[in-house]
Structure formats: structure tokens, C-alpha cells
């Protein structure tokens, strides 16, 4: 197990390094901060001075090492070119709303996926199974941002039940969280269903039933515990997708999280902030993948020896 964790940790570090390189060079190679930030009247001397001030006259590799060193050692993502405050400050403020949104959405999705997936597996081809299949179909074809706007129109504008923007109270969280939950719900539900179907045909389930164990106990204790393994793994693996969905959702609902920060910074060309957000979101994804890898190896020892 220790070797396995060490191996996965090395892998995760490698991925993080690659992502830092890509996001640094992709943005800095093409970004033109002087053109972005200086007035149009600036002449060549002004531009040169400005670039020196930002340290842009140094070789790219040096800039990269400097940039990465500051991030890793001091949590310093550089200054925002537009807001003129440390990017880490902007990111720090936006971090919690995104975590809150992602957790709420994952909670809703899981809370719906488990009972629906279970029921549709147990009562195969029944009404509930068809409803589940239908949700999966619709969910996979629904553009998140459109769903968000539709929910706003129906529950915010027509029924006036829920606020459409803002983030002050938990009521504000409902529409964005439901929107984002619709993104992960289909896959989660399908996983629980197919996992249950597979497990229910196993010998140990038949044995439990033959012993006269209560059906509810067979389903929840014997079957679901095993069917839940892929759910754990995939929840970790698709965490990156969930964050991508959060970017979309935050933009639609003007939710003050990392996604909206990234989109706004991209639109005004504020590269240090964009890079910071990309790195933070990627770090979350890598950590979630790592946790899923280690978690599923812990639950199911067969994985370790693969």
C-alpha cells in the first residue's frame, strides 16, 4: 500500500508540474501586458521600462522558475494586472464560494443518485427505472447555462420563489447548486444502477437471500456497499468536470467564485489571475483524483496490485 501511495503521489506531482508549465507558457508566450495595460500613447521606451518593472525582460525559463517558486514557497501568484492587488487575494476571496457550490451540488447529486439508482436497479424496467433513464438522457443533453437561465426564469421571475443572483444566504445557493447538480447527477445515477445490477447477480447476494436476510438489509448492506466503490472512484475522478461545470454555473448566476473570477479575468486579459485560478482548480482536481485512487485501493485491495 505504501509503495502504491508513493507511486500515485509521484504521478500527481508530475501532472501538477506539467500543468504549471503549460499554463505558464501558453499564457505568457502570447500575452501582451504592455499592450493591455499601458495607454496607447506609450512609446518604445515606456514599454521597455514597463516590461523591466514586471520582470518580463528576463528569459522565459527564469521567469517560470521565479513564478513557480513564489507560488510554491509563498503562495504568491503575482499581482493582478487589472485590480492591482495580489492575485492570491482575489483567489482567496473566491475560493470558499466555489467550494460551497461544488459541495452543495455534489451533495444534491449524490442524495438523488443513490436512491434513484438503487430503485431503478431493483425494480428494473419499472416506471422509476424509466424515469431514471429519462433523467440521464435529458441531463446529458442539457446545456448547464441554459438550464440555469430556465430555472431563473421559472423560479425567480415567474414564481418569485428564489433569488436569481447574489450569494448572501443559503437561499441564494439553491438555484446554482441544483443547476450544477444536474451536471453530475446523470453519471452518478447510471453508476449506482449498473453497479447494483452487477452486484445483485453475485453469489454472495443470493446466499444472503437464501439465509433469509431481510431484503432491505441485503440491498443496503450486502449489495450497495460493494456497488458504491465505483461511485467513490468516479466522484473523485469527475471532480475536475464538476469544477468545469462550476465555472459555467458561476458565470450564469454571477456567483462570486473562482470560475467567475477566471472568466472575468480572461475577458479583461488579467493573466496572473487566470493562471492562478487554473492552477488552483487543477490542484483540486489532482488532489481529488489522488484521494479517489488511494480511497478505492483502500476499499478494494485488488487495485493495489494492478
Amino acid at each position: 500500500m505504501r509503495t502504491y501511495i508513493a507511486y500515485k503521489l509521484m504521478h500527481a506531482l508530475g501532472v501538477a508540474l506539467v500543468i504549471s508549465v503549460v499554463s505558464f507558457f501558453l499564457l505568457f508566450y502570447t500575452a501582451d501586458p504592455a499592450g493591455m495595460l499601458l495607454p496607447e500613447t506609450a512609446d518604445a521606451a515606456d514599454i521597455a521600462e514597463f516590461q523591466k518593472e514586471l520582470g518580463l525582460d528576463r528569459p522565459l525559463v527564469v521567469q517560470y522558475a521565479d513564478w513557480l517558486g513564489r507560488i510554491v514557497l509563498q503562495g504568491d501568484f503575482g499581482m493582478s494586472w487589472v485590480a492591482k492587488v495580489p492575485a492570491s487575494e482575489l483567489i482567496g476571496v473566491s475560493l470558499w464560494p466555489t467550494i460551497k457550490l461544488a459541495l452543495a451540488a455534489q451533495l444534491i447529486a449524490t442524495a438523488l443518485a443513490i436512491p434513484l439508482g438503487l430503485l431503478s436497479a431493483v425494480k428494473r424496467y419499472s416506471l422509476i427505472d424509466n424515469v431514471t433513464t429519462f433523467i440521464v438522457l435529458v441531463g446529458q443533453a442539457m446545456p448547464l447555462f441554459w438550464l440555469g437561465i430556465m430555472l431563473m426564469i421559472i423560479f425567480g421571475v415567474w414564481l418569485k420563489w428564489l433569488p436569481t443572483s447574489g450569494s448572501e444566504t443559503w437561499v441564494h445557493l439553491i438555484l446554482p447548486a441544483v443547476t450544477l447538480a444536474s451536471f453530475t447527477l446523470p453519471l452518478n445515477m447510471r453508476l449506482v444502477r449498473s453497479g447494483m445490477l452487477e452486484v445483485l447477480s453475485q453469489d454472495y447476494v443470493r446466499t444472503a437471500r437464501a439465509k433469509g436476510v431481510l431484503e432491505r438489509r441485503v440491498l443496503l448492506k450486502h449489495a450497495f456497499r460493494n456497488a458504491a466503490i465505483p461511485l467513490v472512484t468516479v466522484t473523485g475522478v469527475q471532480f475536475g468536470a464538476l469544477l468545469g461545470g462550476a465555472v459555467v454555473t458561476e458565470t450564469v448566476f454571477a456567483w462570486p467564485g473562482l470560475g467567475r473570477l477566471a472568466v472575468e479575468s480572461i475577458q479583461v486579459g488579467d493573466f496572473p489571475v487566470v493562471q492562478g485560478v487554473v492552477l488552483v482548480l487543477s490542484a483540486f482536481t489532482i488532489l481529488a483524483n489522488l484521494a479517489a485512487d488511494i480511497g478505492s485501493a483502500w476499499i478494494d485491495p485488488r487495485i493495489r496490485f494492478d
Binding site: 428494473r124 446545456p143 441554459w146 487554473v278 482548480l281 483524483n289
Partner: protein, 301 residues
């Protein structure tokens, strides 16, 4: 009721009867046909847009701006779905939007499929260091928040249709690599491939003649679903102003413009979104049907 009876009835409850399985099959068939109809509608609208549309999608008529659809109160029969903030005919713009969406979706998937399949074949066939490298690159790409990557690429390269296609294509290849790599590995162990290697056939020939032909079905199924996802992603980039630029009729752009009137003129954002939804739904249904047809093993689940 004694225990044995209880077990038996439970068993009967659980095992789907022949009738319900048959019903399920018909339902699947119907959904497949429904999907096909939607896809044909999408492709038809894209190909015949100039003939289907009732107006020029770019023609502005300031006097007739923000008209409701013809089926709502105050609607005018000359504008089937009403007009937008510049008085352009919404129906004609949605029809022409099908062209943009389909083109971007197909081209983006072509890019990611080509890169992904080639890398997956190389990794799976040759194994060793090159395999580890490609697998690592694919994993790194998957850890990168997709939408941020696509947005970054669009920013770096500029927002034009070609660049959106490239951005969507370049950020999505690992999906194809993963499947191709694993399937190629499995095939590589099979006897007919071993025999081909023993015969001294060139690697290129083995890969193209024997491996690729066996991979065509799963790749086709993934590609279908990915077209739908690429369409949704393009509309999102356009929605953010990072995709197709005005006045080109992109569904995402139309949705963004309609959002400003969300409080009163709900159809302006609802209708373009409906177009995206139906297109994606149709493609996904066809993808499901294809999987059923091409891979009978999947039918049970």
C-alpha cells in the same frame, strides 16, 4: 406465506419478464428513431438553411424589433419565432445556427479523434516508454479543467471559428486516447495479431488493417457523443463572448443576447437553448442506438 415462497416471488419480482424486456427493446428502438429524426432535422436545417429560413439571418429591421413568436399574443405571422433586439428573424437565425453548431461539432471531434486515436494506437501497440509518456500526457490533460483550457486557447489564439474548433479539438483528445489505448492493448494480445506479427507484416499495416478496423465501432460511438458535447461547449464559449463573434448566428451567442431580456421576453433565451438541447439529445440518442447495434454485449445493461 412461507420463506421459500417469499424468495420465489421476490425472485420473480426482480427478474424482468419477457414482456417487459420486449417493451424495453421497443422503447429503445423508438428513442433511437426519435433521435434519428432530430439529427436529420439538424442536418437538414444545416444543409438547406438558405431555403428553410424565411428571412436573411443578418437582415435587421429596427421597426420590427423584439416581436414575440407568432403563436403568442402580439406575434406576427411573418416572423414565426419573433425577432431579436435588432429586429432579426429568430427562426431564420436558429436555422442558420444549426450550420455553425454542426460544423464546429463535427470539425472539433475530427481534430480530437485524429490526435487521440493516433496517440492511443501508438501507446497501446508499442507499449513501454512511449506508452507511459502518452498515458501521462493524457492524464495531465484530464486534470486540466477543460473549460478553462479551451477558454485559454481561444484567448491565446483569438476568437475565430477555426480557433474554436482547434481549442475544442486540442483539449478533448485524451477521451479517445484512453479507449483506443486500452482496446489496442487487448487486441495486441490476441492470436490473430500475434500471427500477423509473426508473418512479418509491417507495424503500420497491422495497425491500420487489423487493429483499427476492430476499433472502428467503439470509436464511432464515442465520437457521436463527443459531437454533442462539442456543440454544447461551443455554445458556452460563444455565450461568454469567447466563441463565435456577432453577427454570426450561433445558438450560444443568441442565448447570451436573449439573457438581457430574461425578465420579460423569456422566449429569446428559451428558444435558442431549446435548439441546443434538441440537437444534443438527438445526437446522444443516435449514439445510444449505435452502441446497441454495434456492440450486442452492451444490450443487457
Amino acid at each position: 406465506m412461507n420463506t421459500v415462497e417469499a424468495v420465489v416471488t421476490r425472485e420473480m419480482d426482480r427478474t424482468p419478464s419477457g414482456v417487459s424486456v420486449a417493451l424495453k427493446r421497443t422503447w429503445q428502438l423508438r428513442m433511437g428513431v426519435f433521435g434519428l429524426v432530430l439529427v436529420l432535422g439538424l442536418v437538414g436545417a444545416a444543409i438547406f438553411a438558405p431555403w428553410v429560413a424565411t428571412h436573411d439571418p443578418l437582415e435587421q429591421d429596427i421597426l420590427a424589433r423584439l416581436q414575440p413568436p407568432s403563436f403568442l399574443a402580439g406575434g406576427d405571422a411573418s416572423h414565426l419565432l419573433g425577432t431579436d433586439q435588432l429586429g432579426r428573424d429568430l427562426f431564420s437565425r436558429i436555422i442558420h445556427g444549426a450550420r455553425i453548431s454542426l460544423m464546429v461539432g463535427l470539425a472539433a471531434v475530427l481534430v480530437s479523434m485524429t490526435i487521440g486515436v493516433v496517440l492511443g494506437l501508438i501507446a497501446g501497440y508499442f507499449g513501454g516508454k512511449i506508452d507511459a509518456l502518452i498515458d501521462f500526457a493524457a492524464n495531465a490533460m484530464l486534470a486540466f479543467p477543460f473549460i478553462l483550457l479551451a477558454m485559454t486557447l481561444v484567448i491565446v489564439m483569438g476568437a475565430s471559428m477555426e480557433n474554436i474548433i482547434l481549442a475544442l479539438g486540442l483539449s478533448n483528445w485524451p477521451i479517445f486516447t484512453r479507449v483506443t489505448r486500452i482496446e489496442t492493448k487487448k487486441l495486441r494480445e490476441q492470436e490473430f495479431i500475434q500471427a500477423a506479427i509473426a508473418q512479418g507484416l509491417s507495424h503500420l499495416r497491422i495497425i491500420s488493417r487489423h487493429i483499427l478496423s476492430n476499433l472502428a465501432a467503439p470509436i464511432l460511438v464515442i465520437a457521436t457523443v463527443e459531437i454533442a458535447r462539442a456543440i454544447i461547449r461551443e455554445t458556452f464559449l460563444s455565450f461568454l463572448g469567447l466563441g463565435i463573434q456577432p453577427p454570426t448566428p450561433s445558438w450560444g451567442l443568441m442565448l447570451a443576447e436573449g439573457r438581457d431580456y430574461m425578465l420579460t421576453l423569456w422566449w429569446l433565451s428559451t428558444l435558442p437553448g431549446m435548439a441546443i438541447f434538441l440537437a444534443a439529445l438527438g445526437i446522444n440518442l443516435v449514439g445510444d442506438a449505435l452502441r446497441d447495434l454495434l456492440d450486442p454485449r452492451m444490450r443487457q445493461s
